[in-house]
Symmetry: C2
Subunit: 340 residues, 2 copies
């Protein structure tokens, strides 16, 4: 058997922690014999969930941590002060070479700050973007930056495009991923100052397949494999996309139980509806990697369920097995150092 890929999981991060996190980890262990998982956090609570689960004891280790970082805490202060938090302890496992990847559904800002301060950026990387896998009509689109860097320069968008290309090629297995820049129109003259400056740079960038502007409304229809943008616009897009889908589904579901006739209709369409909506389930695609760190850092949704955690663990497996960090290191080392 090849060596085990070890994932340090922040078991206390997210709205459904620790139960869903622990369950997700157990599911992942069942899905691959190459995985080893550290569950970091409140040992008593983690063991309570594990008690009811069936898992390979030799591939799971509970690592105690007495504190946890709340969703609303100030990221920098939290990482600095809560040395014994589940997030910091899990990141240290990666930093110290005991684990290959870090995974959390907790405070995004803290994942970003800790990812850079504890695990560290690769040499030559100016900014580390969150790359969210956005469920689309055909598979998913990698949106980066989806929220880590709210103010960026045009050259950063070029780095995002290269990072995204390497990630999709080597961690996801897409041969020649297309790259678009998020814009408010398809015409050349459209866009704000950042977009206007970035378009010619992206055209000139080597090693990426740039296809020009992509309108936000076309992203769900799989307009490009990768969409680059600043983290503010990216986060606006992502939250609107997720929020709108959720709201519409909520409204339709309420409608379907509002009368006897509706309930009868609902019975008939239930299976089809479920199948249709599964395509748009973000959980299918795991979490958002913080690209450009020395080891893999993955942020899952705050409301992640066991399914998303399991898929994120599998994402770690593929990333580490294919040595994507090594590939990024050797491809981004020099060109990325043009500025800063």
């Amino acid at each position: 058997m090849s060596r085990l890929i070890k994932v340090a999981v922040d078991a206390m991060g997210g709205d459904n922690a620790p139960a869903e996190i622990v369950k997700g980890a157990v599911k992942a262990l069942g899905a691959s014999e190459e995985l080893f998982i550290f569950l970091v956090g409140d040992e008593t609570r983690i063991r309570q969930v594990l008690k009811k689960a069936n898992y390979p004891q030799d591939r799971l280790e509970v690592v105690p941590a007495s504190e946890q970082i709340e969703m609303s805490e100030h990221p920098v202060n939290a990482i600095r002060r809560k040395k014994d938090s589940s997030m910091v302890v899990a990141m240290r496992l990666v930093k110290d070479g005991k684990a290959d990847a870090f995974l959390s559904a907790g405070n995004s800002g803290a994942v970003l700050v800790g990812g850079i301060a504890i695990i560290g950026k690769l040499r030559g990387i100016d900014r580390t973007p969150f790359g969210a896998m956005v469920p689309c009509a055909k598979g998913a689109t990698l949106l980066l930056d989806s929220g880590a860097n709210v103010d960026v320069r045009a050259s950063h968008l070029c780095q995002f495009a290269r990072l995204g290309t390497l990630y999709l090629k080597h961690a996801v297995g897409i041969a020649d991923p297309t790259v678009g820049i998020m814009n408010i129109g398809a015409e050349e003259e459209k866009g704000n100052a950042l977009v206007q400056e970035a378009i010619p740079l992206l055209k000139a960038e080597e090693g990426i397949h740039f296809i020009g502007s992509v309108e936000a409304r076309d992203i769900p229809q799989s307009a490009a494999d990768i969409v680059v943008c600043d983290g503010f616009a990216g986060n606006i897009f992502l939250k609107t996309y997720e929020g709108t889908s959720k709201l519409l589904m909520h409204i339709i579901k309420s409608m379907l139980v509002s009368s006897f006739k509706m309930k009868l209709g609902a019975l008939l369409i239930k299976g089809g509806l479920k199948q249709t909506l599964a395509k748009f389930d973000a959980a299918e695609h795991g979490g958002a990697p913080l690209l450009g760190c020395k080891e893999l850092v993955i942020k899952c949704h705050g409301n992640a369920t066991a399914k998303e955690i399991k898929n994120a663990c599998m994402q770690c497996l593929s990333y580490v097995k294919n040595d994507v960090t090594g590939i990024i290191r050797s491809n981004m080392g020099t060109a990325a150092q043009k500025e800063e």
Copy 2:
């Protein structure tokens, strides 16, 4: 009878022009005896549609224009060169005092450029934002800027907040509209440089009811009556919101005809679904006013149907009758001139 409110309608603008534009104008004339409409464009084609319609001949005038501005044309060039386009001719009717308001479903950029160059900005207004009425769980939210100014300063967002407040109070009749700033989190430290600079200014701004940051995903749930942002982020939000709703509806509709069982279910839920979705129909709320011009300029969706055009005509009626331009002029004159 009080004096007629005259609306100059660009009959050739938009994907469904002139048929839907003309039909919408006719519907509006039927809904209010206080309206007079100029239909500007290709006389033959306009009259072809009018032939089948029943309308008050003394309150409708066809104004011929030999050219039209295409959706993809460069706005500045189009406005400068196509002097006899339906858009320019209709704008001139307003400029010359023959009409009180201008309405088009055509090229947004051209509406913006023409609105400023032909109709003109009010004294003291730095930037004129498009104020889209976004359908929400409870009514609609005024999003400004929804796309006119892609790069703005914090002081512009304050002007948008004041313009939006005056518009909702006096044209729509909302007593004390709340104002939020579009952001990627509710916490004080969240946001890009623009948002960070704007928050204290908005807190200090008089005459508005500022409630702080509003996350993009909460806008559809009616988090604020007015949401201010730069036109790039605003347009990303708007297009994502509209695009996602459209895509989901398309997918659900395809599903509902995919088998006999589905079709049977669809029959049962059809009425409820239609009623539920009507709430999210942007057409209900008319078009987006370009706020801060000397006379009302309204931009409807490119794919506007007769219903939206009719509602936009009614929007003109309310705006002009309540002298919203006069109110904006007297409220924004001095304070707005702090810079530029």
